[in-house]
Amino acid sequence: MAITLFLRLTTRRAIEVVPAPAPGAQEPAERDRVGRPALLVEHVTKRFVVGREHRVVDAVRDVSLTVDRGHIYGVLGANGSGKSTLIRLVSTLLTIDEGRVEIFGHDIERDEMAVKRCINRVSVDAAFFKKLSPYENLAFAARLYGLPAGEARRESARILGRLGIAEKRLGQPTEQLSRGMQQKVAIARALLTSPMLLLLDEPTTGLDPRSKVDVQVFIEDLRDAQDAAIVLTTHDLDEADRLCDRIAVLDGGRVVADGTPAELKAQVARERGAAPTLESVFMAYTGRSLDEDVEEGEAEAAGA
């Protein structure tokens, strides 16, 4: 290890000697990045081999989508449709089998560190060191992203205050908080690092109605306040309708429909004579209703 540290030190010095580029002479790569979408997913496929019988599951198949800066992009799908796999692919937690992903112009495989710095994720199961307090958990996260602990503390108190959690709760072990509160702490952990692309994987699934609304209102505020982009997976149609600028419907790992909620609704009304609701959109493109599915999702979230 001493050797790598030494090498890093010396290479670092070498880099510092190189004169800074003249103003206006941006690196070509940097210039190209301006105006790139927040997230570009091109023909991405991910397969898993599961079980003893080595069954091949195509969790995500040939998915392409573009998320613009400042937008909330909804991914709607039943359980097992590949939503979380898609989020994990974009989070660098899974390698891509086919296709490519680009985040603010950074290729996810070639430019992994740059990508990691611009993203953060909230998943359906708010995962923490249960005995550590929210403050301690958030301090850990903040330090990993190079933020000073003091600043992290102030910022997390501010974010959680807006989400309706009193400061005095932030010093107790996280396991003593309700699930709704834990999910809010998870959101604070992600926002603390000021992600330019925020990945929300079913952030409201399994929450009590009150917390659910708190989280939804907060997501709306985020969109209005920042030019960060958000990908939101959900199987709540009202939530998708209310929050998302664009929606992709995922079924069996494929995108079966995408567009703005208004476009999609108009399309089913026009082409299939159905009621102009997201329910009909979902029914029309996947052949089933999301209602039966919700139960299962809640159970999974509670058990996770």
Binding site: T85, T92, M113, F128, F140, Y145, A149
Partner: protein, 266 residues
């Protein structure tokens, strides 16, 4: 700030977090400490029963130094396993830090914790038996403890790979590995009494050389320079095992990301 400065700062995240965990689990910390002290005392008392001062010292050395080495090993080996239990692994793995930063932080805390823990055990043993350190060469013990730490860090990193690869069984495997190192390394007896094949295995355990050298230093006052036979295997293992461990870890992480094994369950 330099890149090195950033890495050291980020690696401190793990030190601080692990310290907070120790603090929050203080009940368990005390329980483990009592267990470690009782175990070390119980084994050293075998020497007292036989009325052999030299044996008491030798057993004490075995108990304390094994305590240190096994803490360093298991803390590093469990880096991944802990986060799997808590479910935070995915969050840590997607943070913008190098894996070496991650492992450096875990290693630093492991060594710090191991030193403090072992010092407490040693003080209690010394008070209980009254140590005769008149002939002891402390420098030898310190030098081999440092040398041995490097190899144990390397083995620990390699063992940490197991929980990355095997979601369920990984941490059980690291535990078995630790037990086997205890068995073959001559912690409480000379490796000469082991069956031939076990003696061969013992040559590959850094603990064998550390304990042999520390005993010679503390019991017989042999100087470090006279123990080159014990030193060079440790130097070689340290130089080979740490980079090898990092490399294996990188490969395993890639494999885990390809096959979806960073996920919480299944």
């Amino acid at each position: 700030m330099t890149a090195l400065g950033h890495e050291l700062k980020a690696s401190y995240a793990f030190v601080e977090r692990n310290f907070n965990l120790s603090r929050r689990y203080w009940g368990w910390e005390i329980a483990y400490l009592v267990y470690a002290i009782a175990g070390a005392l119980a084994i050293s008392l075998i020497g007292a029963q036989l009325g052999d001062r030299r044996l008491i010292l030798s057993l004490m050395i075995g108990a304390t130094f094994w305590n240190y080495l096994s803490i360093v090993f298991s803390f590093i080996a469990d880096t991944i396993a802990w986060e799997r239990w808590e479910g935070t692994l995915e969050y840590t793995m997607m943070a913008p830090i190098h894996r070496r930063t991650h492992l450096l932080g875990s290693t630093f805390y492991a060594i710090l914790y191991g030193l403090v823990h072992t010092a407490v055990v040693l003080v209690v043993l010394a008070l209980f038996f009254g140590l005769d350190m008149s002939r002891a060469n402390i420098g030898t013990a310190a030098a081999f403890m440092v040398l041995g730490s490097f190899s144990f860090v390397g083995i620990g990193i390699m063992a940490a790979v197991l929980p990355l690869l095997f979601v369920e069984r990984g941490s059980q495997m690291t535990f078995v590995l630790q037990s086997l190192i205890l068995l073959v390394s001559g912690v409480y007896y000379s490796v000469d009494i082991l069956p031939g094949w076990m003696q061969v295995v013992s040559c590959f355990s850094p603990a064998t050389y550390v304990l042999d050298a520390v005993r010679k230093g503390l019991v017989d006052g042999v100087s470090a320079t006279a123990l080159l036979g014990d030193a060079w295997p440790l130097v070689v293992m340290g130089i080979v095992l740490i980079p090898l461990g990092m490399w294996v870890f990188g490969r395993a992480e890639r494999y885990a990301r390809r096959t979806g094994r960073l996920k919480r369950v299944g």
